[in-house]
Amino acid sequence: MQIEFIGAFNIIIGVLVRFWPVWLGLAIVLGASFTYKKRLGLYGQLFDSSVGIAGVVICLFWLFTAIFASTVAPFDPLSQIPVMKDALPGAIEPASKGVYLFGGDKLARDIFSRMVYGSQIVLIIAPAATGFALMVGITLGLPAGYYGGKIDTVLSFLANLVLAFPVILLFYLLVTPGIMDTPIPYAMAGLFFLFPIIFFCVLFWTRYKNRPDRLYWLMGLTLVLGGWIYIGLVFDADPLRIVHIEPNQLNIFVAVVFASSPGVFRIVRGLTMDIKTRDYVAAAQTRGETPWYIMLWEILPNARGPLIVDACLRIGYTTILLGTLGYFGLGLAPESPDWGTAIKDASRLLRSFIHPALPPTIALMSFVLGLNLLADSLREQSMKD
């Protein structure tokens, strides 16, 4: 049976059309952002430079792609249609008359759909893992920088220990099936996921200690929400069955948090040491504030600039890390559509077919580039005036 093809021009048109929900979303968000630019603070200032606009557009593009993946992708990322094995871009699938826009891979899956679904995995794990790493790094970095002395020495030593260990080797160790059978990943998850809850409890407690009306409300909310997510993630025992994570994904998650929190720790520690010499910190001390209030409410808000920039870059690193993991076949399921796994699969046949390797590579590259541009522009804008 002969497979029919559409031309290059039609492929481009086809891709653009498939992304219609993304374009719509982008148009709405960018339109709103441009209109209210003046009132949006730092985010609004991003639109003053072309670099900033490029960064925002690329990041939003992938965000919307992940959100609308089921609409954008024409095929199921896992279903195989044997006739389409190694099909070239633009091949028309005979049964449904749908088009494999970027062709099929060696297992006869639609590369375009896999790329679109792959963004979901990256956009969930990378920002979330970075978020948790931030929480861990901040909660440990603040006291290390603020108190100094013994606490700082011990925590910095531990952070250096983790940083001194080769990252890939660390992942090999953490994500191998042998380790996955032990309770180690769950214990680590249990530890790391505790940090956000502690963080928010301390945050609200220090501020609203003397105002019970607000305190109970906020603390209750933190504990209920935090506890619910915690139970779901660590024990996989969410009574509502909404919060759920695959064991191997959890594993990757934990590994990523473990590897990037020392970096955040060091940044926060350095910023804290700088900011604690300011007069407003001394002013807070002289009115008898507790150390944790000063750390969380006086110092942390003023460290936010560099932290936001760092978070952007860190999401990029994590994305690359996920790609690397996928490429090594670590952690994620072999049929998972994530970009790293897709690149690995394609690399085996690189001499015969180049087209399965390009879309995931370009996707990965463009997303990280977008994040870096965003971070760059954020840094630039926050340095101005």
């Binding site: 003397n210 105002r211 002289t286 009115r287």
Partner: protein, 905 residues
């Protein structure tokens, strides 16, 4: 350069630099922002021009514009800069490069930023002749070494081998100056060269710059915000405001007969020696500098000027107008001929009652604070050393009293504040606040009352508020911590009241600190400190980072609130002018020790501690009639890590040789009691102390010798050294006596005090006879003795004076004194005379002058006599008075209107 030196000798020399109508703009996101508009000035060879103004007025932009070193957003949009007759606009990039650093050199504010930390001093200096003069390495080394010697650095060879970080700030700045002078520039641009340095170090640098300027014949443009510094270094001055030069002229003309309201406002808002917080408060300029893109039409100063007239001042752009009678004196004010320059602005604060200090609130007894440094780290190691930050500190502060703690950086004043506030605990000694001892209670362990009882106002306005929270929420948080108010609404109300208290609009509660100016932020800082019921407020240099015109307003605010709340204030400062103005008592610190303490009068008049003397002489004073003794300390402040043995000040003391057996180097001197609570940490004997002369004097004759207009002259300040036997006593400051003869109409001199004073003053006179200048001042000192005991009556001085024997006006000082009269039941309103304000009226009343007829009848000598006494209250011609008074005395207001064609005030 050589041509330039010769040029000074020729009569019609060519100017070094000629700036004509220079305009510089910055192009930013918000469009074009003019930074400098229509700026003109000419600097002749060997001349020094001072550019003075507040931050943001464009003074640094001018100097960068001369260098053509504007960043990529700045551009010269109009006017010309001619350097040695050549238009710099026509020069190529190459020509400009050969001029920069060669014919025009620049010295920046921060010395460390001007030196390359990775290169040795020698290498950096040698680069200059190597590049510009293309000499051999040996020659370059030789020249560099000579220059290091010329800037008076110790051990030049070693200096050449050191890296910048091995030198102190003052030494670094000397190296920068040496580097600038190595190419023998024709023009030297100094952009706030001493702002980052301590006062005593600053004095050394200023002297150096002046000396080198004369030695090498270099022209200078000296950019500074400090009027006193300009007076000491420059020949001409340009005052800038909001991007424009508002007044320019010779130093003497501008300082004594300023013809622009802004210049006058500046002078009125700095604490000159004549100011006094009770009798002559500072007058702040209202409002604040307009933003560059929100400048008003016409006069930029209009909205803040109390001489503003609608339709005149804001009609059109105002050019520089020539002031008649003064060569090269221009003012950018259309109304300067109509303005009454002696009148105080309406609403200016009248004198306030001096506060009576109550019971002691804070007692500090033998306080010590040592730090241990060096040890630590995960693997231990390193030997700990002890830094003695505070050593045997003892003093007390009473209710509603202001105690100033004075000293340069590293003297331990901030450590003392930390101990008081509980951020550190004392190593030993006692601190008693009210009835409780707090020296070893850290801030966490203090109860709410103690915490709110002792609060602090911080130095840096840009740091004092957290940039992430709104102003209101920060004040509310403080109230919450101090348990003020029960509900959220209560606290909000109280917060708004606090904003009222510090005279800020209530809308500011919603603002973020970055939307506030420096002065406004500092007001919020004050509000925060007074949020609880603070008994003691520690103010750590609260105004030193603010602009001059704002400083006065914040200082006044601080004192108003203090007066109202009867708060004790510890005012930490290095600026003795402000201290003299604000403080009741002064504590001088050096390297952790209190070297001298006493009332303000005791500290500011002899006998001094040698360090206090140097500190006093180091402060630049923006008053042409002030004559200062020049004492420049050698070297830098020793490190607290490695303090000198014996007396802490012995390494820099110029009296050391007067103490036998080298005791200064061996033992810490005892706190010597000088009477009336005045203590000094010094080995000097009473005889030596008794011969000390006052550092700051007003000198009319001196002024006259130099051809200064006579209204610049004044009264002798703080001269009385009374020595009877061993006890050294001090009479009150004479400057006050001229105005405060409140009880008795003729000056009364206790015979006993007069007898005691004469030998002492005579001694001074003989000693000072070598220079005519000094002799005159000594004579005046003697003369002034007649009017001295005024302060005694006020009850502050240590000399207890029997007041029964009114002395005859035998004194030369009283020659020409107009006859006084007893206060009539209905005295004339002297304020009707233009030039007499409420304060001058009080002074005149003190002389017994109540009637127009009295003034109308003054002879020439009498008028001069009054003139001298009034000098401090405003510099203006008083010739008109007699005419005006005559008219008023003859026929009241109608006659006045007939003669002068206008109504009296």
């Amino acid at each position: 350069m050589n041509e330039a030196v010769k040029a000074t000798n020729t009569a019609n020399a060519q100017p070094i630099i000629e700036i004509e109508n220079l305009s510089i703009s910055f192009f930013t996101r918000k469009g074009e922002i003019p930074a400098v508009m229509d700026f003109s000035c000419t600097v002749m060879p060997g001349e020094a021009m001072g550019i003075v103004g507040e931050s943001g007025c464009g003074k640094s932009t001018v100097s960068l514009g001369i260098m053509r070193d504007l960043s990529n957003v700045g551009r010269i949009v109009g006017g010309r800069i001619k350097f040695q007759g050549k238009d710099m606009g026509d020069m190529t990039e190459d020509e400009l490069r050969s001029i920069r650093g060669n014919k025009i050199a620049m010295i920046y504010q921060e010395p460390m930023a001007s030196l390359n930390p990775a290169m040795k001093i020698g290498q950096q200096l040698m680069e200059v002749p190597l590049i510009h003069d293309k000499v051999s390495k040996d020659e370059a080394y030789k020249r560099s070494l000579e220059m290091v010697r010329a800037v008076k650095l110790p051990d030049p060879e070693r200096m050449m081998r050191s890296y910048p970080h091995q030198l102190s700030g003052g030494q670094q700045q000397r190296i920068v100056i040496a580097m600038a002078l190595l190419s023998k520039p024709a023009l030297l641009l100094l952009d706030e060269p001493t702002t980052a340095l301590d006062v005593t170090v600053e004095a050394g640098i200023v002297e150096l710059v002046k000396g080198l300027g004369q030695q090498f014949g270099t022209s200078m443009i000296f950019v500074s915000h400090n009027l006193g510094l300009i007076l000491e270094t420059c020949d001409k001055i340009t005052v800038m405001y909001s991007g424009e030069a508002v007044e320019t002229g010779k130093i003497k003309d501008v300082f004594d007969r300023m013809r622009h309201p802004y210049t006058q406002g500046l002078f009125r808002s700095i604490p000159l020696p004549g100011a006094d917080k009770n009798e002559r408060p500072l007058i702040a300029i209202p409002g604040q500098l307009p933003l560059p893109h929100e400048r008003p039409k016409g006069c930029n100063f209009g909205p803040r000027c109390h001489h503003f007239v609608e339709g005149v001042c804001n009609a059109a752009e105002i050019p520089m107008i020539d002031v008649e009678g003064h060569e090269g004196h221009f003012s950018r004010c259309v109304r300067f001929e109509e303005i009454d320059w002696a009148a105080l602005p309406p609403g200016a604060k009248k004198s306030a009652e001096p506060v009576k200090p109550g019971a002691p609130v804070l007692k500090i007894d033998d306080l010590k604070k040592y730090y241990h440094v060096g040890a630590g780290g995960v693997f231990g190691g390193g030997e700990g050393r002890t830094v003695k930050a505070n050593e045997t500190i003892s003093f007390e502060a009473r209710e509603s009293e202001t105690v100033a703690i004075v000293g340069e950086s590293g003297c331990g004043k901030s450590t003392l504040a930390k101990v008081l506030l509980g951020l550190e605990t004392a190593s030993s000694g006692k601190v008693t606040l009210g009835n409780s001892e707090i020296q070893s209670t850290g801030i966490e362990k203090r109860n709410v009352d103690t915490v709110s009882a002792i609060q602090m106002v911080f130095q840096n306005p840009f740091d004092t508020l957290n940039p992430s929270h709104t102003v209101g929420s920060q004040i509310i948080r403080t109230l919450e911590k101090f348990k003020v108010g029960k509900t959220v609404a209560d606290r909000k109300q109280r917060m708004l009241e606090l904003l009222d208290l510090v005279k800020l609009p209530r809308a500011f509660a919603e603002r973020k600190p970055r939307q506030l100016s420096g002065g406004q932020k500092q007001r919020i800082g004050v509000a925060r400190a007074f949020a609880g019921s603070a008994k003691v407020v520690v103010a750590d240099e609260p105004v030193s980072a603010l602009d001059v015109s704002v400083q006065a307003a914040v200082t006044e605010l601080l004192m108003d609130i203090q007066r109202k709340n009867k708060t004790t204030m510890l005012f930490i400062s290095h600026d003795l002018s402000v201290v003299r103005y604000i403080a009741d008592r002064v504590v001088v610190m050096y390297l952790g020790h209190i070297v001298e303490q006493g009332t303000t009068d005791q500290i500011f008049s002899p006998p001094y501690h040698p360090y206090t003397e140097a500190l006093l002489s180091a402060i630049p004073i923006a008053d042409t009639s002030v004559v200062k003794k020049h004492i420049v300390l050698e070297g830098d402040i020793p490190s607290a890590m490695n303090p000198p043995s014996g007396c802490p000040f012995q390494t820099r003391c110029r009296y050391k040789h007067l103490v036998p057996d080298g005791r200064c180097e061996k033992e810490v001197p005892p706190l010597k009691e000088l009477g009336g609570g005045h203590r000094s940490l010094c080995w000097l004997s009473d005889e030596v102390l008794a011969t000390m002369e006052p550092v700051i004097r007003f000198d009319k004759e001196h002024a006259a010798l130099e051809g200064i207009p006579d209204d610049a002259a004044g009264v002798v300040d703080g001269v009385a050294v009374a020595g009877d036997g061993k006890a050294v006593r001090k009479a009150a400051l004479a400057r006050k006596s001229t105005r405060t003869v409140k009880k008795a109409i003729p000056a009364e001199l206790p015979a006993e005090a007069a007898a005691a004073e004469k030998p002492a003053t005579r001694k001074v006179a003989t000693k000072a006879a070598e220079t005519p200048k000094r002799a005159i001042s000594a004579k005046r000192a003697k003369a002034k003795a007649g009017a001295k005991p005024a302060k005694i009556a006020a009850g502050k001085s240590v000399v207890s004076a029997p007041v029964e024997t009114p002395a005859e006006p035998i004194d030369p000082a009283d020659v020409g004194r107009p006859a006084g009269m007893v206060r009539p039941s209905q005295p004339d309103d002297l304020k009707l005379i233009v030039g007499i304000g409420p304060q001058i009226e009080i002074v005149l009343n003190d002389f017994g002058v109540y009637r127009f007829a009295q003034i109308a009848g003054w002879s020439e000598t009498e008028r001069e006599w009054v003139d001298k006494r009034l000098m401090l209250l405003g510099r203006s011609e008083r010739d008109e008075w007699i005419k005006q008074a005559k008219a008023l005395a003859d026929g009241g207001e109608e006659e006045y209107v007939r003669v002068f064609g206008r109504k009296p005030r």
